[in-house]
């Protein structure tokens, strides 16, 4: 198996081979979503718990669809971290869930490192669906997959990540993933949101949007959280928008074949103009589609091998798909 880790807590520390393996697996799962009957029995009888301590529509739905297309049973638990603080601790919650023998826990939590804590306390795979300002590995994987599809490669590309990098787990996961895959990463934003310390992590730092987009192959816009624009990090949303809203003008600084990503949800007219969001460079809908495939791959790789992994060996994904093909089943009948 090319991905032998028990959990997916982040992209930091993964090897290029491991990331490639996850992307290849995701690519082969994409086909399932194109079928008329979008379901394979790969995880039949398995249970995936979505434990969300933070509001999420896109990510949770994407994980749920991914699990269902693999025939896993899914349970969605929404807990507010504040009510948990009054009563049960995170580790107790996790131990209780673990006692019900799920096959994976997908967790989103407002505290950085919460998935690491869970991974120390339970023995089923933990999949990080976003922890504080730390990592959001499946989001970065789907971004990497989208870039690889569109560009045919990742190595050698220059990627500008624009916006509130300081508070962004998407930016961190992409930084780790992109650097590992051989891309160059440029963080673009004001010093309050792009502190100089990021250069020690391997990013180039540029404050000016137009300069930051010069000759880049990929622009990744980050969502601006309105609650952060409280006059501390920046004077106001308008002021931010004046400097960093991605307009067609700014995009013109990039390479001709630039693609534009956004993890959503978008603030149209704030960090991205509608012209750009709906324009020809935008691959935002590809990202959403790839999100399901990436999460199918991650679930399959971490869960599918748990019992039968030893027999299935490295060729796990293709075998599963071959076994699972509903089309073939249909012709058989």
């Amino acid at each position: 198996m090319l991905f032998a880790r028990p959990h997916l807590l982040g992209l930091e520390g993964l090897t290029a081979e491991e990331i490639d393996f996850l992307l290849d697996s995701a690519e082969s799962f994409k086909e399932v979503s194109e079928r008329e009957i979008k379901k394979v029995p790969a995880l039949r009888g398995r249970t995936v718990v979505n434990l969300f301590y933070e509001a999420s529509t896109r990510t949770r739905t994407s994980f749920e669809i991914a699990a269902k297309r693999l025939s896993a049973d899914t349970i969605n638990l929404s807990a507010s971290a504040s009510s948990a603080a009054k009563g049960e601790t995170l580790t107790d919650t996790a131990r209780n869930l673990a006692a019900m023998r799920p096959d994976a826990i997908v967790v989103r939590h407002p505290s950085s490192g919460a998935p690491d804590l869970l991974a120390r306390h339970v023995d089923c795979p933990i999949i990080n669906a976003g922890d504080g300002a730390h990592e959001h590995p499946t989001q970065a994987l789907l971004d990497l997959l989208t870039i690889r599809e569109r560009k045919g490669r990742i190595a050698g590309l220059t990627v500008a990540i624009v916006g509130d990098v300081l508070h962004s787990r998407v930016a961190r996961s992409n930084l780790f993933g992109l650097l590992t895959m051989g891309a160059k990463v440029r963080f673009v934003g004001p010093p309050t949101l792009v502190p100089p310390g990021f250069s020690e992590l391997g990013a180039e730092i540029v404050w000016d949007l137009h300069e930051g987009l010069k000759d880049v192959d990929v622009v990744m816009m980050l969502r601006i959280q309105r609650e952060r624009m409280n006059g501390r990090y920046f004077s106001s949303l308008d002021e931010y928008s004046r400097l960093y809203c991605l307009s067609a003008d700014a995009v013109a600084r990039a390479r001709k074949d630039v693609i534009i990503l956004h993890p959503g949800p978008m603030n149209r007219g704030v960090e991205i103009s509608s012209t750009v969001a709906d324009g020809p460079y935008s691959v935002i809908m590809d990202q959403v589609t790839n999100g399901v495939a990436v999460r199918m791959a991650v679930l399959y790789v971490l869960v599918g091998r748990r019992k039968a992994g030893a027999e299935q060996g490295e060729g796990a994904v293709p075998i599963a798909l071959a076994e699972a093909s509903p089309r073939r089943a249909a012709t058989g009948e």
Partner: protein
């Protein structure tokens, strides 16, 4: 010391001879082979060869401790300890905290005021001293609050607490944000010859941070606390110490900038002393990696550059002493999300070997290193302890410098186990700790028996 005979007639115990050891004198800054005679809990003589003279006359009534191959040091003085009693007995009590102290060779501790109730009244001060007396382990010197309830608004009753036995004032854990209150505290404390101990962190700059701000906090996505949060407070308080002529003591100094400013202030003749914790000397913010909550404390672990500045400050005397900031917390307060975890680590039982490591690494010579945990901290607070002098209380740490041991929090005497040094191999241990000539910790046997010392110390 187990061979204590039947209760002796009258008050006097038989004299005790520590023979054959190497004495470490932190004041004269030298080591020498000599015997040390203890009579009535006081150091009665320090001379080479007492062992040859004394046994001839009345050998049967003299207890003899063979210190061959061992270092005889003044019992250590830790001026920054949280004993948690009253109020937080589930973390530590005065009895367990001082038991932990003597296990580390520490015979005197100054305890911080952030108990519940806060030590902001003579009654609480007296309560602490009574409990310490009952525990009969390390000597306890209470530190009173600067402000009532540590609220930073109104001065606590320094005079009443001083009469009851406090040796300094501090709102440790709660920086005094009001500069005028800090000024008044420095002025008032001056009347009693007490320092104001400063927890130097500007809360506005801390801004909810949970670790040092730098590449590591950015990588982990944890909110950072810039070194400047400490620097601006140290700068402010140096100015206030200059204004008032009061004695400012900066607790747990952690940043290169602060060390630089203290050095300049001292050169300018401002009355300022400082301490550094062993964890700031030996760990950096990298220790937080993997969200290890036992590496979370205030001020936070900083960078290698800061660490080097602390070592330099220690070597050139800018930093007077080493103090542990022993801060016990229950497992439940540490086994949580990093953001929610309590600040602080235990330190009493690991201080000595970490200080001896400074000698091994050539940062300090042995007597100077020991001075940093005995005579120097005692001088900061004006305590009559921490030296090897005839006429002084026989508070001793008899140390086996070669004893290797592995830090195992389960083996610790402290009620709490939150050490960042878990699993470290340490060298050096106090194998016999004495307070006023009484053995309060005996680890000479290869297999230490827990609780043995408590039984022994009954008067």
């Amino acid at each position: 010391m187990s061979e204590r005979t039947a209760p002796s007639a009258g008050r006097s115990e038989p004299p005790l001879l520590v023979a054959g050891g190497t004495l470490v004198d932190p004041v004269a800054k030298r080591t020498r082979r000599a015997d040390l005679l203890v009579r009535d809990g006081v150091i009665a003589a320090i001379e080479a060869g007492i062992s040859e003279q004394l046994p001839r006359r009345g050998a049967s009534t003299i207890h003899r401790i063979d210190a061959t191959g061992l270092l005889v040091m003044p019992g250590f003085v830790d001026i920054h300890v949280h004993l948690r009693e009253p109020g937080f007995e589930y973390k530590e009590t005065i009895a367990t905290g001082t038991r932990s102290a003597v296990a580390g060779g520490v015979t005197s501790v100054a305890c911080m005021a952030n108990t519940r109730p806060v030590n902001d009244s003579p009654a609480v001060t007296r309560f602490i001293l009574e409990r310490a007396h009952a525990a009969a382990l390390a000597k306890v010197f209470p530190i009173g609050a600067v402000s009532l309830g540590l609220a930073g608004e109104q001065l606590a009753p320094f005079a009443g607490m001083f009469d009851s036995g406090i040796v300094a004032v501090s709102d440790d854990g709660h920086p005094v944000m009001d500069a005028e209150l800090m000024r008044r505290a420095l002025e008032c404390a001056k009347m009693f010859g007490m320092p104001v101990i400063d927890h130097a962190e500007d809360r506005a700059l801390v801004a909810g941070g949970v670790m040092h701000e730098g590449a590591v906090s950015l990588r982990l996505g944890l909110r950072g606390i810039p070194a400047a949060a400490e620097d601006v407070m140290v700068a402010r308080d140096i100015a206030l110490a200059g204004l008032t002529g009061g004695h400012l003591h900066v607790a747990h100094i952690s940043s290169a900038g602060s060390v630089r400013m203290v050095r300049m202030a001292r050169a300018a003749g401002i009355r300022i002393t400082t301490e550094v914790s062993p964890h700031h000397l030996w760990l950096t913010d990298e220790a937080v990696t993997a969200y290890r909550t036992n590496a979370k404390m205030a001020p936070p672990l900083r960078t290698e550059g800061d660490r080097q500045a602390l070592l330099e400050g220690l070597a050139d005397g800018t930093i007077d002493c080493i103090a542990t900031d022993h801060a016990p917390h229950h497992k439940d307060e540490k086994d949580v999300e990093f953001d929610c975890a309590a600040n602080g680590v235990v330190g009493l039982e690991t201080m000595l070997p970490l200080v001896l490591r400074l000698v091994e690494d050539g940062v300090l010579d042995l007597p100077t290193a020991i001075a940093k945990i005995s005579s120097e901290p005692a001088a900061v607070l004006g305590l009559p302890v921490g030296t090897l002098e005839v006429g002084r209380a026989a508070d001793l740490a008899i140390v086996d410098p070669a004893r290797e041991w592995k830090v195992d929090s389960a083996e610790m005497f402290s009620k709490s186990k939150n050490t960042p040094f878990e699993g470290w191999t340490m060298r050096g241990r106090s194998v016999l700790t004495m307070v006023d000539g009484r053995t309060v910790h005996d680890d000479r046997a290869p297999q230490p028996v827990r609780g043995a010392a408590e039984r022994e110390v009954r008067p």
